[in-house]
C-alpha cells in the first residue's frame, strides 16, 4: 500500500485488500446491533435523568439529600459486602478442596457446583422460600427435634437475602479461584514445609497469596453483580432489605416516576462501571472473560 496516500483518498479496492478491514467487517453486525439495541437505549436513560426537559440535577440532589435513599444505598452496599464475604469463604474452601481432591471426588464436586450454577435463578430463590419460611423445612425439622418452641424468623430479613444471594454467587468465586489454583505448583507448599513452616504458616504465606488473583477477580465480580441484584432482595428480603434495584422498579412500576428511576439507574450504572474499570485496570479482564484475549 502506498504510504503517501492518506486515508481519505484510499479507494475501496485497497481498503478491501487490508485483512484488518475484512475482519472488521465481520464484527460490524454485532457492533451495530449493540450500538442500536444496547448503547442507545442505555444512553436514553442517562439523558432522561439530566433533562426534564431542560438540564437539571434535581433528581440527583433529591437522591443524595433524602435520608431514605441514603439508607437504601448503605443497605445495598452492606448486603453486597456481606454476600461477597460469605460467598468468598464458601467458594474458596470449595476451590481449595477441588484442587487437592482425587479426580473422582473432584468431578463429583465440580458437577454439583456447575449444576447449581445452571439451575434457574427463580427456582433457586423459590427453594429458599420453601426451606426458610415460617412453616418451612428448617423450622419443621428443628421443631421435630424439639430444638425450638417457636418458628425462627429466617425469611424477609437480612439473613434470607444473604443466604439466597450467597447461594447464587458461590460458583462465581469457586471457578476463578479454582482455575488460579490449578496453575499453582503444590511443590511450593512442600518446599515451605521443608523449610520449617507449619501447615498454617504455609497456607497464609504461600498458598493464600498465590491464589489472590482469583480471589480479587471473583469477589469484585460478585460485588458488582450483588450491587445491582434484584430478584433475591425482592423475594427473600423484607421491606427493610430492599436494595437500590428494587427501589428503581418501585419508582417505575408503582409511582411512574421515570426521571427519578433514570437517575437511580444512572448512579447504579456509573458505580458498576467504575468498579469494573478498577477491576480491568488492576486484574485484567481476561480472568473475568475466561480468557478472551484482547
Amino acid at each position: 500500500m502506498d504510504m503517501q496516500t492518506n486515508s481519505f483518498t484510499l479507494n475501496r479496492a485497497s481498503l478491501w485488500q487490508r485483512p484488518g478491514f475484512r475482519y472488521f467487517l465481520l464484527v460490524t453486525p454485532a457492533l451495530v446491533a449493540l450500538l442500536l439495541l444496547f448503547a442507545y437505549p442505555l444512553s436514553r436513560i442517562l439523558i432522561k435523568s439530566f433533562f426534564n426537559p431542560g438540564f437539571t440535577l434535581k433528581e440527583y440532589v433529591y437522591f443524595f439529600t433524602s435520608p431514605l435513599y441514603i439508607r437504601v444505598m448503605w443497605i445495598t452496599i452492606e448486603l453486597s459486602l456481606l454476600t461477597t464475604l460469605t460467598s468468598l469463604v464458601i467458594g474458596y474452601i470449595l476451590a481449595y478442596v477441588l484442587r487437592r481432591a482425587r479426580p473422582g471426588i473432584r468431578n463429583v464436586f465440580l458437577m454439583a457446583i456447575m449444576l447449581s450454577f445452571m439451575i434457574s435463578l427463580l427456582v433457586r430463590n423459590y427453594s429458599w422460600i420453601i426451606v426458610l419460611e415460617r412453616n418451612g423445612v428448617v423450622n419443621i425439622v428443628l421443631r421435630y427435634f424439639g430444638l425450638i418452641d417457636h418458628p425462627l424468623r429466617l425469611l424477609h430479613n437480612k439473613f434470607g437475602v444473604v443466604v439466597g444471594m450467597t447461594h447464587i454467587f458461590v460458583p462465581y468465586i469457586a471457578f476463578p479461584v479454582y482455575s488460579v489454583m490449578m496453575g499453582m505448583d503444590l511443590n511450593l507448599e512442600k518446599a515451605a514445609q521443608n523449610l520449617g513452616a507449619s501447615r498454617w504458616q504455609t497456607f497464609w504465606r504461600v498458598s493464600f497469596p498465590l491464589s489472590l488473583p482469583g480471589i480479587g477477580a471473583g469477589s469484585l465480580l460478585v460485588f458488582i453483580m450483588a450491587l445491582g441484584f434484584f430478584i433475591t432482595p425482592a423475594l427473600l428480603g423484607g421491606r427493610k432489605e430492599q436494595m437500590l434495584s428494587n427501589l428503581i422498579q418501585i419508582q417505575v412500576v408503582d409511582l411512574l416516576n421515570w426521571p427519578f428511576a433514570s437517575a437511580m439507574s444512572t448512579i447504579l450504572l456509573i458505580v458498576t462501571l467504575f468498579i469494573f474499570f478498577i477491576y480491568n485496570r488492576y486484574l485484567g479482564t481476561e480472568r473475568l472473560w475466561g480468557g478472551v484475549k484482547t
Binding site: G20, F21, Y23, F24, L25, L26, V27, P29, A30, L31, A33, L34, F38, P41, L42, R44, I45, I93, L94, Y96, V97, A112, I113, M114, S116, M118, I119, S120, L122, V123, R124, N125, Y126, S127, W128, I130, V137, H167, V170, K190, Q193, N194, G196, M225, L227, G228, L235, I248, V252, V253, S262, S265, L268, T272, L273, W289, G290, G291, V292, T294
Partner: protein, 277 residues
C-alpha cells in the same frame, strides 16, 4: 514403651485434606444443591397445598401444569423467544468471534470490551432502558421486543465459548484446504465450521439458557400479552399461592441437567476434533 515409634514427618502431603475441610466442603455442596433437590419430592405431593414432608404421592401438580392454558402459552412464548434470541446472538457472536480471535485491527480490545459489556450492566437498568426504548416503537408486550432486549444480553455468553473454541482451532488445516484448491468460502464451510461446530452449539445453548431464565427485563416488557415462563413464575411466587411450583421447578432442574450433559458431551467432541491434527 514398646513397638515401632511412629515415623513423624514434619511436612504434610499438600494433597492431604483433613476431615474438618471435608465436612465444611461437603456442607457447602449440600448447601448448593439440597434446597433445590427438596423440591423434587414436593412436586409429587398434593396440588392443593405444599406440604413438607409430602403425605401422598401423585402427579397432580404436573397434570395441572400441562393442562393449564396460561402456563402452556408461557412455556411456548419462552421457547420461541429464547430460540430466536439464541439464533440471532449466535450468528452475531460467530462473526464477531472470528474477527476478535483471528483479526488484527484498530481498537480491538475496546471493541471486545464493548461486546462483552452487557454481562455487567445491572439487569434492572437494562429493564428500564428497554421499557423506554421499546415503548417508542410499540413493542412492549411483544415477543419481538423480548428478542430485541435479549440479543445484546446473551451475546457475551455466546461469544465466550465460541472464541475459546476458535483459539484452539489449528488454522493450518485451513491452509491445507486452500492449498488443495478450495476457495476461502468453501474452506470455511467444509473445514472450519465442521470442526468448531460443537463450540458454536455450546454458545447457542448458553444464549438459549440465559434468555429462557431471564426475569428482570421481562418484568418491564412482557406486558400481559407476551408473558414468559419466568415472568409467570415470578407473578405466582410473589402474589399467589400456587402449589404447582415444585413441579415446574423439577422440570427446570431436569432442563439444567440436560443442558449440563449436552455441554459436557459437546466439549468432549470438541477436544476430540481439535486433537486430530
Amino acid at each position: 514403651m514398646t513397638g515401632k515409634p511412629k515415623r513423624k514427618t514434619n511436612w504434610h502431603d499438600p494433597l492431604h485434606i483433613g476431615w474438618p475441610l471435608w465436612v465444611v466442603s461437603g456442607s457447602a455442596v449440600f448447601f448448593l444443591l439440597v434446597p433445590v433437590l427438596l423440591l423434587v419430592p414436593l412436586s409429587f405431593g398434593s396440588a392443593e397445598i405444599i406440604q413438607f414432608p409430602p403425605t401422598k404421592f401423585c402427579l397432580d401438580q404436573y397434570r395441572k401444569f400441562f393442562s393449564h392454558p396460561a402456563w402452556q402459552s408461557a412455556v411456548l412464548n419462552s421457547l420461541q423467544v429464547s430460540a430466536l434470541t439464541s439464533i440471532a446472538s449466535t450468528t452475531l457472536a460467530l462473526l464477531a468471534s472470528i474477527a476478535l480471535v483471528w483479526g488484527k485491527f484498530r481498537a480491538k480490545s475496546l471493541i471486545t470490551g464493548f461486546i462483552l459489556s452487557p454481562m455487567i450492566v445491572p439487569l434492572i437498568v437494562l429493564g428500564l432502558a428497554y421499557y423506554v426504548f421499546l415503548a417508542k416503537f410499540g413493542l412492549i408486550g411483544t415477543k419481538l421486543g423480548l428478542v430485541i432486549a435479549y440479543t445484546p444480553l446473551t451475546l457475551p455468553f455466546a461469544v465466550l465459548p465460541i472464541s475459546a473454541t476458535l483459539r484452539g482451532f489449528d488454522r493450518s488445516l485451513e491452509n491445507a484446504a486452500l492449498n488443495l484448491g478450495a476457495n476461502r468460502f468453501q474452506t470455511f464451510l467444509k473445514v472450519t465450521i465442521p470442526i468448531i461446530r460443537p463450540g458454536v452449539i455450546t454458545g447457542a445453548l448458553f444464549a438459549f439458557m440465559i434468555a429462557f431464565d431471564e426475569v428482570v427485563i421481562a418484568l418491564f416488557i412482557c406486558g400481559s400479552t407476551a408473558v414468559t415462563l419466568p415472568k409467570k413464575m415470578w407473578d405466582v411466587i410473589r402474589y399467589e399461592i400456587e402449589p404447582m411450583l415444585p413441579a415446574i421447578s423439577t422440570l427446570l432442574l431436569l432442563l439444567a441437567v440436560f443442558f449440563l450433559v449436552s455441554v459436557g458431551l459437546l466439549q468432549r467432541r470438541l477436544t476430540k476434533r481439535m486433537e486430530i491434527r
